[in-house]
Amino acid sequence: MSPFFQLSGATKNFGGVRAVDNMSFGLEKGELVGLMGPNGAGKTTIFNLVTGVYGLDEGEISFKGEDLGRLKSHQITDRGIARTFQNLRLFQRSSALDNVMTAAQYRIPYTFIECITHLGSWRKKEKMIREKSMGLLERVGLADRADQAAGTLPYGFQRRLEIARALALDPELLLLDEPAAGMNAEEVSSLNVLIKDIHSDFGLTILVIEHHMDLVMEICPRIICMNFGAKIAEGTPWEIQNHPEVLKAYLGEEEDDE
């Protein structure tokens, strides 16, 4: 049987720069895996390749036995992959509820004639979309902010809203891109709880990008670490923490930061 999700020999160049270099890893159904690495290691590029934002130069991506290489972004969403963005891509002017409804409508379709006449199943389906979206807002703790414009929400809430929006697509594989970026310690720990909860409650497979070691270490039983576009280590948090390549990558970066 083919694996649930498999990236094989993925390579992506930008100009002369090799952003992702012969990267391979697989995910089993129901896993919660961390993808970590220093800034510029190519983590987000992996997400962009998986979701069809960029095309692969070489290699293959398969999901539930299907090759994703030829599919467009919206078709990949259709197959059951959803994601959030590192630098937040909410519809700023729309309310939090509208943001989630915009995603929730994908699995609750109705016809164009019903759009212009509001007859037929319009009322029933719109109600379903609204209820599903409210349910998800409640799930991420934003129910009382449903009518507020997304752009005016505090940063941490915007990140949670993006998670709710991605969940509204009923994905089987959820890609979270630095969900904790810009959050304080307290927010991070409640986010950890949320990620673990949705992982078990929705029966999801989650791949989470995190720059900071501690968050990934805490929630992910398995971690993949990359640097300069290539995989440098893979294993349990304990194995990763003591892996010489990982230490070198992170130490090198801290020196750069100073």
Binding site: T44, N48, V53, Y54, F85, R89
Partner: protein
């Protein structure tokens, strides 16, 4: 045969004037990623500056030309400061810039309608239009040769400016990514002003030659539609593309006028646009626009 050569020279001459307009337009597009519909206004400003200097100040063509180019350059900078900068600084919605540019185009055109009237005005005979024999093969007008030559000189100067000077290099970097250029310590507002100055300056050169060719009137700027089409054929945002697209368009127009019918000229232009959009919508040299996610 003689007609063919004559029409080719005329076509290149007209195309090179389009190129002066299209290059400035493309330059602005490559930096700010919006289609500046006020570009036609810059051309009209150049034309009227030249006309005014010749008629009212009694200046010679060199002085009048210089005043027109510099005047249109500053008018373009002023347009950017008044209409685009406030929008740019607040939002990155290019639709707002697009609408503002359309508004500025209407404003500029109608300022001239009100001040000088909608009349067609002929420039004094400052550029010779005497017939010239080209190597005994064909006869053409001196004007066509002069406009072709001037366009080559100005486009060559632009090429030198972009490749040899510090600001030229900064502009090329900004065309790649404006934000990165800002991060590299380039004064982005000054850079954009320079780009607009260059765009207005070159448009005015085109404006003067077009005023001689077709006479001067406030709606003369509408001819920039041809330059937009040329820029799309060459690939939006690409400078070599704008030049090649303009030459193709000028040749197509003149050959149609010479061998089919001059009424069909414009139809050929828009057919070329449609064919480009259907066959290769990014144009001959277009880069596919992708966004950092």
């Amino acid at each position: 045969m003689a007609t063919l050569i004559q029409q080719i020279i005329n076509g290149l001459s007209l195309g090179s004037v389009y190129a002066l307009i299209a290059v400035g337009y493309s330059l602005v597009y490559s930096i700010l990623l919006f289609s500046n519909f006020a570009h036609g206004g810059f051309l009209v400003i150049g034309g009227y500056f030249c006309y005014g200097s010749l008629r009212l100040l009694g200046a010679g063509i060199w002085t009048a030309g210089a005043l027109a180019l510099i005047g249109a350059g500053f008018a373009a900078v002023l347009t950017e400061r008044l209409a685009y900068r406030p929008i740019r600084e607040r939002t990155n919605v290019t639709l707002y810039l697009l609408i503002a540019s359309m508004g500025m185009n209407i404003v500029i055109e109608n300022i001239f309608v009100i001040i000088v009237g909608g009349r067609f005005r002929a420039l004094p005979p400052v550029i010779p239009t005497t017939p010239v024999s080209v190597m005994g093969l064909a006869t053409t007008s001196a004007f066509d040769l002069i406009s072709l030559l001037s366009a080559v000189v100005f486009l060559g100067a632009l090429q030198l400016f972009l490749s040899k000077t510090r600001w030229g290099l900064a502009i090329r970097a900004a065309a790649y990514d404006l934000r990165t250029a800002g991060l590299m310590g380039v004064n982005v507002n000054l850079l954009i002003s320079i780009v607009f100055f260059v765009a207005g300056f070159l448009a005015a050169v085109g404006g003067i030659f077009l005023s001689v060719r077709y006479t001067l009137y406030p709606q003369l700027g509408a001819i920039t539609i041809k330059a937009f089409v040329a820029a799309v054929i060459g690939g939006l945002g690409s400078l070599p593309g704008a030049v090649i697209g303009s030459l193709i368009l000028g040749l197509a127009e003149m050959l149609t006028a010479g061998f089919i019918s001059s009424q069909m000229r414009d139809l050929v232009v828009f057919s070329l646009l449609v064919i480009t959009l259907l066959v290769k919508p990014t144009g001959l040299f277009g880069k596919s626009v992708s966004e950092k996610v």
